[in-house]
């Protein structure tokens, strides 16, 4: 994306033939802003919006990007991660677009970040009040597993009819003795809406409850936004006698020794078993630096 952006921006600074500050036109920003305002007043409720064409493909973070571009300020320090990694190519491209069209600073360090756009992870560090966390969402509706038709699932949400997803969980218990959701475990948000937390692992779902930061969710392809305000109850759907389970790993991170973070496999050449490492690369690196 950077080469294309070079060419387009070289056409002139914002105000001539180049791109507007924060890329989006002002009307598009205002629509996103109004939608987010209502989303925060209706925690977990999916609200449609006129999702704009973006220079990232649909399915590649266009929704999250529209939220970021509408809410970013030049004083922000922006972090973008994909699977917890700042150096993922897609994250690099998005961070580049945001900072180059707004003048905001970029960082890979979570404690320094004031606005974070993420795909599939919540950073391991707790985030402070005022930090905006923007989630990229592929499938917005947690009831998609119950029915493919938006007309049907919209009605279910309107009526608070979540029997379908509870039945899905019940059948999991009967057949497997635990929920079959791996990531994207549906949650009930204070006020009663059931929401998809985006494809974050169960390890992260548990950390949404009562968090001090602001969580915004953008599904560009599905043209939907939703939000969870700070200090809001977020509970994964679970039966009382079958508590929600997070992932368990066979060992600590081989790089930093952490036993409390979400790990992924790395390496495994020449017949050696793959090693477990933190998915949050920045968190892991800082742990290693502190240990020295």
């Amino acid at each position: 994306m950077s080469a294309a952006l070079d060419g387009l921006l070289a056409g002139g600074a914002a105000g001539r033939r180049g791109y507007n500050h924060a890329y989006l036109d002002e009307a598009a920003k205002r629509e996103v802003r109004r939608t987010l305002l209502k989303a925060l007043c209706l925690p977990g409720h999916q609200i449609p919006f006129a999702s704009r064409e973006m220079p990232v493909a649909r399915g590649w973070g266009s929704g999250g990007l529209q939220i970021t571009l509408a809410t970013v300020v030049p004083e922000d320090t922006v972090k973008v991660i994909d699977q917890g990694d700042d150096e993922s190519l897609n994250a690099l491209g998005i961070r580049d677009l945001v900072t180059r069209t707004t003048g905001a600073a970029a960082t890979t360090e979570t404690p320094a970040a004031t606005l974070i756009q993420t795909r599939h992870r919540i950073p391991e560090d707790g985030l402070a009040e005022g930090v905006v966390l923007v989630f990229q969402v592929p499938i917005a509706d947690p009831l998609r597993i119950v029915d493919a038709r938006p007309s049907v699932t919209r009605r279910m949400h309107a009526e608070g009819d979540y029997a379908g997803v509870w039945l899905y969980l019940y059948e999991d218990m009967v057949h497997h003795d635990h929920a079959s959701f791996t990531h994207s475990h549906p949650v009930e948000v204070e006020g009663g809406y059931v929401m998809s937390p985006s494809p974050i692992p169960r390890h992260d779902v548990a950390r949404l409850d009562g968090a001090p930061h602001i969580s915004l969710f953008g599904a560009g392809r599905e043209a939907t936004l939703y939000a969870v305000p700070p200090y809001t109850r977020v509970r994964p759907l679970a039966f009382e006698d079958r508590p929600f389970e997070t992932e368990r790993f066979g060992g600590p991170c081989v790089r930093c020794g952490s036993t409390g973070s979400f790990l992924v496999e790395s390496g495994g050449e020449d017949g050696a078993p793959p090693r477990l490492v933190c998915s949050d690369t920045d968190w892991c690196r800082r742990r290693r630096e502190r240990a020295r």
């Binding site: 890329y23 036109d25 973006m54 649909r58 699977q83 990694d85 592929p138 079959s180 974050i200």
Partner: protein, 340 residues
């Protein structure tokens, strides 16, 4: 049922000649070259992007290395940053026609004009290296004087049927206009496949007939910013199709023909025909509880956007190792259960 068109006075050959006119040897192709070399591919990008700017669409194709989906993405993203003018309306009746066929009728008022089309040319790949600047050997080309110029306007072929009360009034069906809008920019292959599935029998059985297909230039009129008067702002290439469905649908008592209309920017005609078929199918099936995909307005509204489809399918190439780790961890747990 399909009707046949009779070749009159070498019109087929003339149409093929017109279509091949201007072909050039592909060297380093600039935008204008691409527009002349691959006009229908440029038209496909134009239609799916919903942006009539052929040179920009050609440039996008070149930058996308020929990937139409990516080219559409580039064009739409570019257009989204341009200032929008107040809406302008087009009147289909004002189309300056370049081609008009009526498979439903042998000899309709106004006549049939093949225009530039490869439809009836044999699909024989030309392996000759010389650029085809003239007619292929063996084609008898009629003298230009024999070609009839097209009338400025045609009466609507369906008009006679409507006057005779043979066409059902269009029902005010929720979402029909929205579907038609989406069909205008739908992904060509997806739309064709689903329209095909309907004719092929996966839909409710409804024998379609293409009543009329028109291709030409649609004039645009916008309100002048100062005087407010309507002024001519340019022309857009477009193809319009009208299809009727015969056959009484189970439980649908009205025996009259159901009309579907389809439109596309540019000249990729299967777009307009497929759109008309899907529009007619969905209107007929509007009250069905569980229609098959080709009759299901909601399904089509979700699935036919090429950008959403391509983007989401291709997004699988993005890293998914966190979500997959979550999956594997579950499988590990299941594994324990099995070993148990």
């Amino acid at each position: 049922m399909y009707t046949t068109i009779l070749d009159q006075s070498g019109a087929v050959a003339a149409a093929a000649r017109l279509a091949r006119e201007g072909a050039i040897a592909p060297a380093t192709a600039g935008e204008d070259d691409l527009c002349r070399l691959l006009p229908l591919l440029v038209d496909q990008v134009t239609a799916e992007a919903g942006v009539f700017e052929p040179r920009v669409c050609a440039r996008a194709l070149r930058e996308a290395r020929g990937d139409a989906a990516r080219a559409v993405s580039l064009v739409r993203a570019w257009a989204a940053t341009l200032p929008r003018l107040p809406e302008c309306r087009v009147d289909a009746r004002a189309m300056r026609p370049l081609r008009r066929i009526t498979p439903a009728f042998a000899d309709p008022p106004g006549g049939q004009y093949l225009g530039a089309t490869l439809d009836y040319a044999q699909r024989l790949l030309d392996l000759d290296d010389a650029p085809a600047t003239g007619p292929p050997p063996g084609d008898a080309v009629p003298a230009p004087a024999a070609a009839r110029p097209l009338p400025a306007a045609f009466p609507r072929a369906l008009g006679g049927l409507e006057e005779r009360g043979l066409v059902a009034e269009p029902e005010a069906i929720a979402g029909r206009t929205g579907l038609r809008h989406r069909l205008c920019r739908a992904e060509t292959g997806a739309m064709t496949a689903l329209a095909y599935s309907g004719i092929r029998g996966y839909g409710q059985r409804s024998d379609p007939t293409l009543v009329e297909l028109r291709q030409g230039m649609l004039p645009l009129r916008v309100a002048h910013p100062d005087s407010g008067e309507a002024v001519h702002a340019g022309e857009v290439a477009a193809t319009l199709a009208e299809v009727v469905l015969y056959r009484v649908h189970d439980g649908h008592a009205d025996p009259r023909l159901s009309l579907g209309v389809g439109a596309t920017c540019g000249r990729v005609e299967r777009r307009a025909i497929s759109a008309a078929l899907l529009d007619a199918n969905c209107a007929r099936a509007a009250h069905d509880a569980s229609p098959p995909p080709c009759d299901d307005r909601e399904f089509l509204s979700v699935v036919l956007d090429g950008q959403e489809a391509a983007g989401f399918v291709e997004h699988l190439k993005l890293p998914h190792h966190v979500t997959f780790t979550s999956d594997l961890e579950r499988l590990g747990a299941l594994g324990e259960e099995v070993d148990g």
